[in-house]
């Protein structure tokens, strides 16, 4: 078993396990911590896929900022345990589980059915091409990040700028929403 393969299976099990943990823990703080673990696992998966920059961003933004935010808010609420963690209604609950299961089955089935025509060949090709072009498109962190940066700032510059505006708006909006006097109402 090559390291890549082992890494993949290990990380896959880690991610799925902690994802299930998010779902199943009744204490919301435990859920939050499981989510953080999932994020880290996903970052590792990104590294195995040679997306180094994105992995870094994932760690910084998600695991670093978003999870902290979640945990902070949970601490603000000061809830120790849920009286009732899961929605009531046996029938609706059953329907939900069944539909979710069916969905997963369908997606996986769809993927596997499509493998012969598209993905299988592509993976072999990709490996060959990657090996052939080891000189040109190296998968070292610097080269990959440089390529990402070039495309981001030339082809998708508009989106990038729009994103900046979006973040500004979000920041302002969030502050306005959560003001102590309750949002955007004026003080009496």
């Amino acid at each position: 078993m090559t390291p890549d393969v082992f890494l993949f299976w290990f990380l896959a099990l880690l991610i799925i396990g902690s994802g299930l943990a998010v779902l199943l823990f009744t204490n919301p703080i435990y859920s939050a911590l499981s989510l953080a673990m999932t994020m880290v696992g996903v970052a590792a998966i990104f590294i195995t896929l040679h997306a180094y920059f994105i992995a870094g961003v994932q760690l910084i933004v998600y695991a670093g900022a978003v999870m902290v935010l979640f945990v902070m808010v949970l601490m603000l609420f000061d809830i120790k345990a849920e009286i009732q963690a899961f929605s009531s209604g046996k029938i609706s609950g059953a329907i939900k589980l069944i539909s979710v299961g069916l969905l997963s089955g369908l997606i996986v089935g769809g993927i596997i059915m499509g493998q012969k025509s598209f993905v299988g060949e592509l993976s072999k090709d990709a490996v060959q091409v990657a090996e052939a072009q080891k000189v040109k498109k190296s998968t070292s962190p610097d080269a990959a990040t440089k390529e990402l940066g070039m495309v981001l700032f030339s082809k998708h510059i508009f989106g990038f700028e729009a994103l900046g505006v979006l973040l500004t708006v979000i920041a302002v909006g969030t502050v306005a929403l959560a003001r102590s006097r309750g949002g955007t109402h004026h003080a009496k």
Binding site: V100, L103, L106, I107
Partner: protein, 643 residues
């Protein structure tokens, strides 16, 4: 000036007047509204004069002005253009319409000065002139029909002008519905003509007229012309569709003058004169026209003798004179018919306006039993009315004499005529003289029966000037059509009208050479009959007023029948209208209320129920909604994968 510009101004000037007065219809400013309306029609009159003079300047066989504005309909083989055509016939008509129209507008300005709806009135009047011009100038039967319907609409609007009074509103409805029946017949006639000739363009139809007479009663052309004639009876108030015209007196008097004397009611005759090449080839229709015309003349004159309302007398007089015009075209004397249209426009409009002046002075009183001796209070009205009276009873050299005499002569002499028709015409002429003299006596002459509270006075200038102008026309109007027999005698005065119309009016087939002595004899007979009737009437109503009452009492049942207009209205109600209303009511109840409404209720309840069921899907629980999304996703994916 260019013909198309003149034609456009001619047609659009009254329409613009309608629009301007229409948007300000609530203002009671009679001077401004009347001024705008009169100016609009006067501009049309100037254009008519200019176009007519252009027409005069053209050589006799090319007297046509044809202006096409745009192509209106072009479907497969059916082409109709928005095009207008002036020839000898329509040239005269537009002069009459706009000229007499201007005078009547001027009169109305003063007559309607206290009415709050005066601007609306003038808007309607202008719209009427516009539609009437379209009627006479349209070069296709369909364009003419547009004008035909339009004048019917304006007639309804103007008759029921004071619609808050139920009877007046009902009179308007009666006019419109009766007209509609006629219009249906007109449409059928148009369908038949189109299927026969393939076109509705009047000139083309006239050009395609057959050269041999159609003798069968069921021939296509006969049926077509018959239906067109029935349409004409609706518009021009002949038997059986005349019943609306006496009721139409509910409208303002100038309306009666314009629409029901001078212009709209002549539309039927105009249509027949325009299409004379095909009418003259269907002798069966012509026979029917002549008979109906004569009968109507007789019947209406007899009713006119008994009426006490000044306007009703004039209304029945109009129906009777229209009968004469139809008699004329029925025997093939199209030129004579048109001539009588013209002279009748002058003297009847004059008399209606005169009666308006009288009614105005009598503070809206219309019963002639309460009038009398008005001669000394209203001299101008009296003398102009006097001239109109002389014209209508047919005294030479006034206008009515020449036209009426030509009709009577040709109804005797034409191979399509008959001495019986002539006799009926003469009797009607006698009755006309009788009741018109009766009207003069009871209104203007004799002892005054005016109630003490009423102080009659002469009308102001805006009302008397049109009267004077029309009186002058009633005097001289006949001199353009002096028949040959008189013209020869008095030194070669030509029959201007006859020569003018000759290129477009087919001559009566097989017309024998006129026997002058016979013509003089007949002329003398009718003149004698008219004079004697007038004299008898004068004797009855001025000298010995108790005689008419005694005569009426001695033939009381007959008198009652005639006074009640031969109970024709009652007959129509009993046989046609009431059954129709009953059937409609039953249909409404059984089908509409019980069936159709029930269907809508059932549908509505179904939908409400369905809505109630689907409402239960909205639980408010967001997770349930998300579940719906998940289910939908599952279904969509399975559909994709199965495919």
């Amino acid at each position: 000036m260019d013909h198309s510009i003149l034609m456009a101004i001619l047609l659009l000037s009254p329409f613009v007047g309608f629009l301007i007065n229409g948007v300000r219809y609530k203002q009671p400013t009679y001077k401004i509204s009347g001024g705008i309306a009169t100016a609009a029609v006067f501009i049309s009159f100037i254009c008519s004069v200019l176009l007519f003079s252009d027409l005069v300047g053209m050589p006799a066989d090319q007297r046509k002005i044809h202006v096409k504005f745009f192509e209106w309909l072009n479907v497969d083989k059916f082409k109709v253009d928005a095009a207008f055509y002036i020839d000898q016939i329509s040239g005269i008509m537009i002069l009459i319409i706009t000229g007499v129209g201007t005078l009547i507008h001027l009169f109305s300005t003063e007559y309607m000065h206290h009415d709050k709806g005066v601007t609306k009135y003038f808007a309607y009047l202008n719209l009427f002139i516009f539609n009437m011009l379209i009627l006479v100038l349209g070069d296709s039967l369909l364009t003419m029909f547009v004008g035909w319907e339009g004048v019917g609409l304006c007639s309804y609007l103007l008759i029921g002008f004071w619609f808050t009074d139920k009877d007046k509103a009902a009179a308007g409805m009666k006019a419109f519905i009766t007209n509609r029946v006629g219009d249906a017949a007109f449409l059928l006639g148009m369908f038949i003509l189109f299927s026969t000739f393939g076109t509705l363009n009047i000139q083309e139809i006239n050009g395609l007229a057959p050269t041999t007479v159609e003798t069968s009663w069921m021939g296509a052309l006969t049926l077509g012309t018959m239906f067109l004639f029935i349409g004409a009876t609706g518009k021009s108030a002949q038997i059986p569709l005349y019943v609306w015209l006496p009721d139409a007196m509910a409208g303002p008097t100038p309306v009666s003058a314009l629409i029901h004397a001078a212009t709209m009611v002549t539309a039927g005759i105009y249509m027949i004169v325009r299409l004379n090449p095909i009418f003259i080839m269907t002798p069966n229709t012509m026979l029917v026209i002549a008979i109906i015309g004569a009968l109507t003349a007789l019947m209406a004159a007899s009713i006119g003798i008994t009426q006490w309302d000044i306007k009703k007398v004039l209304a029945y007089s109009t129906v009777s004179q229209l009968g004469y015009m139809f008699l004329a075209v029925g025997v093939g004397a199209f030129g004579a018919g048109l001539f009588h249209v013209m002279t009748h426009a002058f003297f009847k409009a004059l008399m209606f306006l005169g009666s308006g002046s009288v009614i105005h002075a009598m503070h809206e009183e219309q019963d002639i039993r309460k009038m009398g001796g008005l001669k000394k209070y209203m001299p101008i009205t009296h003398w102009t009315f006097f001239l109109g009276w002389l014209a209508i009873i047919g005294i030479p050299p006034f206008a009515g004499f020449f036209s009426k005499d030509e009709i009577l002569w040709l109804s005797f002499h034409s191979p399509m005529g008959h001495p019986v028709l002539w006799a009926v015409g003469v009797v009607s002429a006698g009755m006309t003289a009788f009741y018109m003299t009766r009207l003069m006596c009871l209104t203007f002459w004799g002892k005054s029966r005016v109630p003490k509270s009423v102080h009659p006075h002469e009308s102001p200038a805006m009302m008397t000037i049109p009267l004077i102008v029309l009186a002058v026309l009633s005097v001289v109007g006949g001199w353009i059509g002096i028949p040959e027999v008189i013209g020869h005698t008095f030194g070669h005065i030509p029959n201007y009208l006859g020569e003018w119309l000759a290129p477009v009016v087919r001559p009566i087939p097989n017309l024998a050479e006129a026997d002058h002595s016979l013509e003089w004899a007949l002329m003398g007979t009718s003149l004698g009959v008219a004079s004697i009737s007038a004299f008898i009437s004068y004797h009855f109503y001025v000298k010995s007023p108790e005689i008419p009452g005694k005569i009426a009492n001695s033939i009381k049942p007959v008198y009652e029948l005639v006074f009640k207009k031969y109970l024709v209205d009652e007959l129509y109600f009993k046989t046609i209208i009431n059954p129709l209303v009953e059937v409609s009511r039953k249909v409404w109840y059984y089908i509409d209320v019980n069936f159709i409404d029930k269907i809508t209720y059932v549908l509505a309840d179904l939908i409400k129920g369905g809505g109630g069921v689907t409402r239960s899907l909205q639980t408010g629980n967001v997770q349930i909604y998300a579940m719906y999304i998940a289910i939908g996703l599952v279904i969509a994916l399975s559909v994709i994968i199965i495919k």
